[in-house]
Amino acid sequence: MRVSYREAMRQALHDALVSDPRVFLMGEDVGRYGGTYAVSKGFYDEFGPERIRDTPLSELGFVGAGIGAALGGMRPIVEVMTVNFSLLALDQIVNSAALLRHMSGGQVSVPLVIRMATGAGRQLAAQHSHSLENWYAHIPGIRVLAPATIADARGMLAPALADPDPVVIFEHAQLYNTEDELRDEPNEDWRCDIERAAIRRPGSRLTVITYGGSLPKALEAADELARDGIDVEVLDLRVLRPLDTETIAESVSRTHRAVIVDEGWRSGSLAAEVMARIVERCFYDLDAPPVRVCSEEVPIPYAKHMEDAALPQAAKIVAAVREVLNV
């Protein structure tokens, strides 16, 4: 069955709403409007306004309410329209959701799922093009997921809802229209793990490590390199916190080289964290310094050619790989 990322996410939400009465979806325009990215289209009529709950534009308030509802026995899925608006709710996510379990000495958990769109590439300019996954990945107490494939879009939500602690899911806006085959056997179980990174393309000479919206670019770069006989591995982090250091170390120890691709800005990036772990774990296996391909240190510009220049692109990944391999 060939489905889009949007459709896969919609099906996952639908499953969750059908299978557990504690689950409800809350956010700006998730109901009557059908979701900013049309992920919840039709849900309002099917599940009603209590469970498909339109909220005012008050991210701090409704994310906090999601935390309270989770404490109160529900399994809320809170949709924050985009990561830039999540900054208005950062206090509740960082100071409450992530900390309540610890501050209470383990008495309460917050089984909350927060979904948000992330990333640039659609000429939405500086305030709607952030990749701040690393901010959330910095915080102990929350799990951070970045589904980059159709299968992950379909399969990550159920285990996220089963997690007793807060889970933040980043959906790169450029991915919603991507399509792929999805397994569809009778009684298919789409649930996937939310623990491990995944090798999306095996290779021998170098590991390209990436996540989210940069995965298609990394795969495109790998294809191009393969045409010149350069065989690289592509690793999708999938889980940004806790990072799957084992899979990263296994791959880099085998290929001896790494290029890390991250749409976040370079300084203090998730790529920096991945690189640090590579150096800690694989130093004596490295055959060249790891290299990063990140967004340039500039707010994301509006003009198309400038936006393209600011972001990681397949060509930049190819150039970085060639630099590391000296070929």
């Binding site: 008050s58 935390i67 409450s96 008495q107």
Partner: protein, 336 residues
Amino acid sequence: MNETGDMTEAVTGMPERPFAHRLLADMLRIRRMEEKCAELYGAQKIRGFLHLYIGEEACATGAMHALDAGDNVVATYREHGHALLRGVPMDAIMAEMFGKAAGCSRGRGGSMHLFDAARRFYGGNAIVGGGLPLAVGLALADRMQGIRRVTACFFGEGAVAEGAFHEGMNLAALWRLPVLFLCENNLYAMGTALDRSESQTELCVKAASYKVPTLKVDGMDVRAVHEATCRAAQQVREEGGPFFVEFRTFRFRAHSMFDPELYRDKAEVEEWKKRGPIHSFSAQLKAAGELSEDGFLDLDAAAEAEVAAAVAFAEAAAWEPVEDLLRDVTTPGGRS
């Protein structure tokens, strides 16, 4: 008393003697516990921030006695009294302040983060206004699950300047959720007087602008606090929507242990102390023939004894082993 109203001048009858003594005893328990905390802070047994409630005891005492055991409570970082009257044993509170494993948050929270999930006490929250959206969510969960319960949310008047107050108030009113907003207005947000931070100093007006019914009451009068909270809680239970009560009160001590109190006149503090909730209520009881001096001393001695036992318990309690450092960041056993 009237509905969006002002109960500050209301005169009410004296409660039955056992309950009156209970109110007085509880105020004394809070007072003596916190005096001991101040002493122990100086002795460095208690560290970090320590925000004392001394002077405001009538608020927690009157309000907590108006709630049911099944209700939710969300509190602030000045929550020792609320935790105690919610039923958290003084031993566990004191041990928490000492940072001991026997503390009510296993020593991970400290003075500002007392929790007791079994008593539905959802914690001291040290982000001003941070508890309001949480309370809204707890009430939402109850409503969606068909549970009839009030969520009481305590906060200071400083919180009304935060977006969280306005967003929480709007959501609770918009969705008609059973939240009892209890604002302890002690006139100073740390060192900033209300009229130096708010254009509208009538807090009930702010709440009313969200179509939330309100009451204003003398927070130094434990009977008035109790009566107002009972009335507000009853309306929440019956009608489902939120209610806002403002307690006009005053803290006698500094904001936290380190506070030279440069922002308020000592005369103002002395003036409020004359209306101290413990001695004014005990004086009323004595005047009504409901309390003797010996009776008062007995209650006070009982409070002192409870404090002494709690301190002994906390002193003797064990530290959590450092090997357990990474506990309770996430839920053990993982996903279910």
